[in-house]
Symmetry: C2
Subunit: 296 residues, 2 copies
């Protein structure tokens, strides 16, 4: 893509919340001529077609990618191997490949394993989403003012990087670059860990449920917001957790350490330290919200 | 209060988010004649007066409670001892005392320690709130369709219980009763524990912040919602955590157990168990939202 001609043929593999929203955002920006949606679910693809998210649909990945200028892999991380293996032989030399996955080291690893020319693969991660999924949940504004992180390597074709960067800017994102390992550590901290903790907390509470003791009946807005991400797709988060498990285990250990410390403080009935801990958290969170609140 | 005459003189000690919202809700229902606000902060009291939340303000607790029909203690749990001690000698025989605190065993303990006649004390906990505080943040609809739990004991005057129940119904709440210990266990699970975990997670992430590594810069909507409660008042949550620390330590241990289990599963790269865990959490959370979503 360049700013004059736009994208002639865009292939989106996986027309879900992210893939569908990218299609809508690029249409809104009028930078794409033809969008082919590839997927397994006939129902979801037909929805995408009916809603005008894509122009053409197919189950055949070879057919989908064959004449594409850009291919966006927007499937759960657990499907990367199958998708990259299946599309590799059908890609043209000029085709740029990118993805939207939440863990970038794994994406690079799979691309190098299967693509003939991995230098045309530009790993990308738009930091946006809701707990909804499917083409029907997609909307053009999903990426507006959100960050999209690209994690190219030294060997990545600079022209391909520029093209993907322009695409995400057209979709409304702020684009930045960093290396894949740093990305994975950062996202483990602010995204993967909260998801893990939310799932764990809901399970911890749910296991105590009994005829007389139903904690959920008394949960309010705080619980709803804290656990919103526990309503996310279990398959997607299993994949993310496994693909980024080293970084996630590291973050999990950091959280467990904090919780143990708070447990000790409670045991000692130490109000001063408890206040210090809570105040530090509030300060950090309020500061973050002040700096980033309007972008969320 | 009865449905015919309403409340003649209501004294609210602590005209913050909860106290102020109760005043507004009772006014909206037209069931109160005169509201006296008691507090330490002149600025907050004057705001409450200017906004019409209360009719009269005083720093003098004796003056505030002296002729009240109902006294509502709406201060942080850590101030209960001082407040109950200070008001005890000024209460009339017919005055009903209630509170809005998040831990009920502690409230009962303090009431029994200081009140001449603790049978007129009806412990109450409206399950509603925002992370805001102060009279300016109060609004009449805060309790609409939210649950308010009363935890009277066998020795509590049934007439006083009925009166407090009617008051909370007039304020828009669903009222239910249970014993204080059950209440405290339930709330430790669905409210106090999520707050502790949110504070801990923000601290765990914040401690990793450095010049090159700023996780907060990449946090998105999931992080915002997960950590919203970490912007709550540190003083209030210190008090709640300490007043309910046995139940909270029990819940903290349950969460730590779940997190350790997830850590083991990650270490073993066990996708099947991870999916089962995440799916169980999503199912429980979605079911809860389906049953209670409209009330939140």
């Amino acid at each position: 893509m360049n700013s004059k001609s736009g994208i002639k043929r865009l292939c989106i593999i996986g027309v879900g919340l992210i893939g569908g929203s990218l299609a809508r955002a690029l249409r809104r920006a009028d930078v794409v001529e033809h969008i082919i949606g590839v997927g397994r679910s006939r129902k979801n693809l037909e929805t995408a077609l009916q809603l005008g998210v894509v122009d053409e649909i197919t189950h055949d990945i070879g057919e989908g990618v064959r004449n594409a200028d850009i291919v966006i892999v927007a499937v759960p991380m657990g499907m990367y191997e199958n998708i990259f293996r299946a599309m590799a032989e059908h890609l043209q030399k000029h085709t740029i490949i990118s993805d939207v996955g939440s863990t970038k080291s794994h994406a690079l690893k799979v691309a190098k394993q299967y693509l003939t020319d991995a230098s045309r693969f530009v790993p990308a991660h738009p930091i946006a989403g809701t707990e909804e999924s499917g083409a029907a949940a997609s909307f053009a504004g999903l990426f507006d003012d959100h960050t999209c992180i690209l994690t190219p390597e030294e060997s990545t074709d600079p022209e391909a990087v520029q093209c993907v960067e322009q695409m995400w800017k057209a979709a409304g994102s702020h684009v930045m670059q960093m290396d894949a390992a740093t990305h994975d550590d950062l996202l483990a901290a602010v995204s993967h860990l909260p998801h893990l903790a939310a799932f764990a907390l809901v399970n911890a509470v749910n296991k105590q449920k009994s005829g007389v003791f139903d904690p959920f009946a008394f949960a309010a807005g705080g619980f709803r917001d804290f656990t919103r991400i526990a309503s996310s797709s279990p398959e997607m988060w299993r994949d993310i957790a496994l693909c980024n498990r080293q970084a996630l285990m590291h973050q999990l250990a950091a959280l467990q350490k904090e919780l143990s410390r708070l447990g000790d403080v409670l045991r000692k009935n130490d109000g001063k330290t408890l206040l210090d801990e809570f105040s530090a958290a509030k300060k950090a969170r309020d500061q973050w919200l002040k700096e980033n609140g309007t972008d969320l």
